[in-house]
């Protein structure tokens, strides 16, 4: 009991260790995963984030427009586990978990991050050029699993039914062999 008494008495004359929080804002530590930010201009609508989201917090609504598609994304923060998988899987860095932790709201709408991506769908179909080295990178990146590559037989094939023309494979190809042909 004596050491406790000593600590209690010395604390009485020390400054309190309490942070004066609501008056002085406290920044979260780097790497903190807080409120989701979504950049619609970078998004390519590959749908990878929707697939990896374990609580199913992301909803995607597609509307057809003359130029292509308008994709409205909604990230429900009251359903999110803040695991950061969507951020990690997004090749275009269109999703970011910011350090903003102020997520207490009386209105449910304040806890939804939404954004719209305007996608111009290419007219042609996916074709593979002469430069292909059959590295299988495109097949691995494809969110729909539409591409199959046989390394030994040197055959590259795409299932046009499955392909959504998102363009992930085009940007992933190290040889720039893939393109949406005319």
């Amino acid at each position: 009991m004596v050491p406790f008494a000593r600590v209690a008495l010395s604390n009485l004359f020390k400054k309190p260790s309490t942070r004066n929080f609501p008056r002085e804002n406290v920044e979260a530590k780097p790497g903190y995963r807080g409120r989701i930010a979504y950049y619609g201009d970078k998004c390519r609508n590959c749908g990878m984030c929707v697939k990896v989201c374990s609580p199913g917090a992301i909803t995607r609504t597609v509307t057809e427009t003359p130029e292509g598609k308008d994709i409205a994304f909604e990230f429900d923060l009251t359903s999110c586990t803040f695991c950061g998988m969507c951020q990690d899987f997004c090749d275009e860095k269109a999703i970011e978990l910011t350090a903003d932790y102020h997520m207490a709201a009386t209105d449910h709408k304040d806890l939804i991050t939404s954004g719209v991506a305007h996608i111009r769908v290419p007219k042609g179909q996916l074709v593979c050029g002469e430069d292909c080295v059959y590295c299988t990178l495109c097949a691995r990146k494809c969110p729909e699993g539409a591409i199959t590559v046989d390394r030994t037989e040197k055959i590259w094939s795409v299932d046009h039914e499955k392909c959504t023309k998102c363009g992930t494979c085009v940007s992933a190809c190290p040889k720039k062999a893939l393109s949406f042909g005319e």
Binding site: F4, A5, A8, N11, L12, T18
Partner: protein
């Protein structure tokens, strides 16, 4: 005409100075100070000193729920009985050598009145019909039995010291004796009794580590479990006033007569208002120091005891300390 003034004076005494208002305000402030200083001892900022007042006001505005198994009149009356008995006790204790009412055997009356708040809590808890309250009241009873014995021995030793050959149970006489011979705490034989009294205060008030009856983490605040709204506020107020009453009792038993030398003129209707004001403030300051010493500090450095340990502690250590004093006084050291 004089009897009319007498009545007015008695009402003022009961309602304002040593009575209702002074006791309530002092108690709430002491409870606030206790919470503030314990926070500082734990390196926290702590609530404002007026926090118990806010709590009480808020509880006034809450809905009062009476469980359908409860005995309604008893359930609602219990907190008021406890509170009123505490205020009555405050009238008997001399503050700065001034008491509202005095008699030949104040100490014995106080001894009986002291049990009433605890009994009120027991009655109220049992009227609520909750099993948590059942455990709480059984613990409250054991706590009461544990601290009553040493408390009686402390009272006896003070009475014996002041009375000489016989015993003197009048608080007015005890204060007068201390004005002549110096405070009781300065006589060597009474120091163990003073320590025992300091250890009795937290149990009487129900503060950690002796709050086994109201342990909120294990039995959901025991007897208070079904209380809500204004009756709960009255219980909280009663606890706050109990701090003030117990520390006042300690002050008048062991540190009486300190302020008797202070004289400031300023009379209103033949009453020395200036004296009362200064003495009341000094009395409150002494009470605050005692609260700090025996409740806040002990609360900060200990954890809650088990009921059997509490009983053992009071009937061995505390009763032993007070017995030493009684024996020393009896043989006249």
């Amino acid at each position: 005409m004089s009897s009319f003034f007498q009545i007015i004076e008695n009402i003022v005494k009961a309602m304002i100075f040593p009575g209702l208002l002074y006791a309530t305000a002092g108690g709430l402030l002491l409870a606030g100070l206790d919470r503030k200083i314990i926070a500082r001892m734990q390196r926290r900022v702590g609530p404002p000193v007026l926090q118990p007042t806010y709590d009480f006001l808020k509880l006034c505005g809450k809905e009062t729920i009476v469980p359908h198994v409860a005995n309604k009149p008893v359930f609602l009356a219990a907190p008021f009985v406890g509170y009123v008995s505490l205020v009555v006790m405050m009238l008997l204790i001399p503050i700065g050598g001034y008491s509202a009412f005095s008699g030949k055997a104040d100490l014995i009356v106080i001894l009986y009145l002291l049990t009433i708040p605890a009994v009120a809590m027991i009655v109220g808890g049992s009227a609520s019909g909750s099993p948590f309250a059942g455990i709480g009241i059984s613990r409250e009873m054991v706590t009461m039995m544990a601290y009553e014995l040493p408390l009686i021995i402390v009272f006896l030793s003070v009475a014996k010291l002041v009375g000489g050959d016989s015993m003197n149970f009048s608080l007015q006489d005890i204060t007068a004796w201390q004005e002549q011979n110096g405070p009781v705490i300065f006589s060597l034989s009474m120091i163990p009794a003073a320590i025992a009294m300091l250890l009795i205060i937290p149990a009487e008030v129900g503060m950690q580590p002796f709050d086994v009856a109201e342990a909120e983490t294990e039995i959901c605040e025991g007897p208070l479990v079904e209380y809500s709204g204004f009756p709960l506020g009255m219980f909280k107020l009663g606890t706050a006033v109990r701090i003030f009453v117990m520390t006042s009792l300690f002050t008048s038993l062991f540190l009486g007569g300190i302020t008797s030398g202070i004289h400031i003129g300023w009379t209103v209707c033949g009453v020395y208002v200036g004296d009362l004001l200064v003495r009341g403030l000094i009395h409150f300051a002494i009470c605050a120091v005692i609260t700090l010493l025996c409740m806040t500090f002990i609360h900060a450095i200990t954890a809650r005891l088990k009921i059997e340990h509490l009983f053992k502690f009071y009937w061995t250590v505390v009763a032993g300390l007070s017995l030493i004093s009684l024996i020393l006084v009896w043989i006249g050291v």
